[in-house]
Symmetry: C2
Subunit: 489 residues, 2 copies
């Protein structure tokens, strides 16, 4: 795309001034509409070093209310950030509904940098590109406008700018070694950039190349592109997103009605086995830590199925410094205003750590589906998106373990009543639990569909028969130990 790039014609002075004024006013007006219609806009500003990306962002935001945008300069990932999946730090920065985020360089820059220096082979590059395309598609499918700009300048122009910036002590800090390196290896970089732009030029988030030789001209192109993008996004807003065919390798899981719940364990055997398994898990945790394997354990299940007690038997066997339990309730306003996976991306464990989710992203296809918190298209699409998300995690090297904690309706009733009648346990039972219980059958349909569509070979569902909670605990520990041992071998 860069190599065949032909510069757009710069308008004459009079029409230039007119268009600039129009575009500025339009963007200011659009911002108010975005706010009312809750559309989030992520503007990715990539390009050559010293191409004037930061300056252009600075000029464009003059037209915006500063309370509703953020500009974020993405530097190289810190040592800490490197312990998370590649997209983690970018996902963290996605805008809230109705707001803009401008990224001054983003994932393109980081990938290309690794390519320049031969730190990523072809297979890794291909995997990364797929991951980026999934990420971008998921954003746009979930109502984000993603505007991708590449600021282009010639080798000569770049050389001149570097020299100018270095000459002034107040601007010299803006030139990095990497900028100088780019200029010296301009043609090599051009190849890498060009290939990346081609590889990621997806229909929902196409690239726009900005002729960045002159700053007001670059500003005009950026403004006009933004305005067009916003117009299109607002027009498309009501369109349902096309559903994708589930193409993930599935792993067999029974229907809930096929699960026999009469499994139990003898209390003495439970005690002895628990002790053995917990000691084993404790030992494995250290090995995980040393080998830097991240682990994600997901608990879903009926209310009062015994998730809390099950989790406790797992955490008892873990080193306190290496795990975190995330109880997931309804999203708070910050979370509701973003992509539904955002609150999970931001809670991922770092390598060597374990994150346990007490309820998970599967809320999308259960409570959000049944209560109408998202559209039909949204939850239907979610099976695919969730499979992608878990693929992303396992590709990163994570062990993903998913439990459905199963009981029957009668057992739930008994436990609800016991909670109701035991003063110390009353906090555990709410009106909402009773309301959900009334929808048992609808939930069962949704759960079965969820289990069938998202039990993949890389992240299969495991059913924990939990009428005898002790049985379920032992089973969970065994599954976890088994999965970790496999990962450590």
């Amino acid at each position: 795309m860069l190599k065949q790039y032909s510069k757009p014609e710069r308008p004459d002075k009079e029409s230039f001034t007119k268009r600039l004024k129009q575009a500025r006013e339009k963007l200011a007006a659009q911002q108010m509409m975005l706010k009312q219609r809750n559309l989030p806009v992520l503007v990715l500003v990539e390009g050559w070093g010293a191409a004037g990306k930061g300056g252009a962002i600075g000029r464009v935001i003059h037209n915006l209310d500063p309370r509703f945008f953020k500009v974020k300069t993405m530097k190289s990932p810190s040592v800490e950030e490197q312990r998370y999946p590649f997209l983690h730090r970018f996902f963290q920065e996605i805008p809230k509904a109705g707001q803009f985020v401008f990224l001054d360089s983003g994932w393109m820059d980081e990938i290309c940098r690794q390519r320049f220096h031969g730190k990523m082979d072809d297979a890794q590059y291909d995997a990364r590109i797929s991951s980026v395309k999934r990420f971008e598609r998921q954003l746009t499918d979930n109502g984000y406008l993603l505007v991708k700009l590449f600021f282009h300048i010639s080798r000569k122009e770049q050389e001149k700018r570097i020299a100018n910036l270095l000459a002034d002590k107040d601007t010299a800090w803006r030139i990095s070694d990497s900028d100088k390196w780019q200029n010296k290896h301009y043609n090599k970089c051009l190849e890498v950039f060009d290939r990346y732009l081609q590889d990621t030029d997806i229909p929902d988030a196409p690239w726009y190349i900005v002729d960045a030789k002159e700053r007001h001209w670059a500003e005009l192109q950026m403004l006009e592109r933004l305005c067009t993008g916003i117009d299109t996004a607002m027009q498309n807003e009501s369109l349902a997103v096309q559903l994708l065919q589930n193409s993930f390798p599935l792993s067999k899981v029974p229907l809930l009605s096929e699960v026999s719940l009469d499994k139990s364990i003898d209390p003495a055997e439970y005690k002895a086995t628990l002790d053995i398994l917990q000691k084993k898990l404790y030992g494995l945790h250290y090995r995980l830590y040393r080998k830097r394997v991240p682990v994600v354990i997901c608990y879903e299940g009926w209310d009062a199925a015994g998730k809390g007690g099950n989790i406790k038997r797992v955490t008892e066997a873990l080193d306190a410094r290496g795990f975190e339990v995330h109880p997931i309730a309804s999203p708070d306003p910050q979370e509701k205003a973003r992509h539904y996976l955002w609150r999970f991306w931001t809670r991922l464990p770092k390598t060597g750590h374990i994150a346990i989710f007490d309820r998970t992203w599967y809320g999308r296809v259960m409570v959000e589906r049944l209560e109408g918190f998202c559209s039909t298209n949204d939850w239907q699409r979610a099976y695919y998106e969730i499979n992608e998300f878990e693929k992303e995690l396992t590709d990163w090297g994570a062990v993903v373990i998913k439990f459905w904690v199963q009981i029957d309706k009668q057992t739930q009733l008994e436990r609800f009543e016991e909670r109701q009648n035991t003063p110390e346990k009353q906090w555990k039972i709410t009106e909402e639990d009773w309301r959900n219980r009334e929808k048992w059958d609808e939930y069962e349909v949704a759960i079965n569909e969820m289990l069938q569509k998202t039990s993949t070979t890389y992240a299969p569902w495991h059913i924990l028969e939990s009428v005898d909670k002790k049985y379920a605990r032992i089973k969970a520990l065994r599954i976890i130990i088994d999965a970790l041992e496999k990962a450590l071998d």
Copy 2:
């Protein structure tokens, strides 16, 4: 304290077992009470390297529901973290109401480490101690239980443990160079620890020294200390905290009724001056960046006083990569569940950056006071706490600039009506604005008290007369430029 430390007598086996069981059960029961009563508990576990801090935390949390506690290992601050005030990364971790946070080493460890290696002179140490004491007192005054434990072992014991841990490849990673250094310089470290413990043994958060030679004994001491602390905190919960005498150097500020609002600027002069001042500010921003000076700009003012437009004239003159505007609305659930300054601590700028707050922590003594969102004791104490907070910021090197944007009641009415009648502006006016307007006189009393009590020499209030918004913008820019120039000299 360490040097005169005499070990508590270890109970005989039978009573040991009994006490351990009792303490474990008690803590489990207390956790449920804490949850109901929304008491947050921060447990600071400090001590010698290899004293078994992590292990003890691990044993204590066995008794807790894993959904309601977090364990956080505090490592040395990253390069990024070093660009924030010393307490920033600790403040970030404070628990939510009803939850526990265990810090495996905290601010004591970091301060003592710097002392060991002579990286902090006496004056810096004294300043740091004052800051820590303020922090701890503010936590307890705001309803936190802060339990401070120091795990003590002898030089010989430490040596033995280091050797044991190093001998096993699964535990060797737990021994750092710093642990070995400590053992080699045990007496020097003892001096520093002892002095620190004495210096920070404050009434509301005293130190407890744990004899850590044997792990179950250490567990019992930790458990019992926690239980006692929780009991006391629950008993004291309803007691009002003593108010402190405002001892900060104050700077003169007028009463609102003394402010004459007839100030204005000629539109042509405005345009020319704005241009000059914005260019000047733009230049200063680079110098701030290079010199790594952090800047905090606070806007408070009547609804419709013109804060938004004023802020925009400032941000237009700033480099997009170096500032952030934080619009402050009512706290979300995450924020409401913590110390009221938490959401501001977590939004501080790093060095070289500018944070602009559109409404601030002064909500505590305005809306929270008038709407009864906090107790009388809470908002009365807040003047002192806020002065301390801003002192903390200026001691760190920040420039703190505070604006009160002033208009009269009639002007507000005209602007409200204009907003109501202009379709693009209707989003800016809500029912709440009208309700607040009815309380104008009560607000004026609160604002005057706030201005008088919190206009300090290091963070004075500036009144912006904003009936003519243009006049207010020019005045704000002048004040900012003036403050930055002073800081850069």
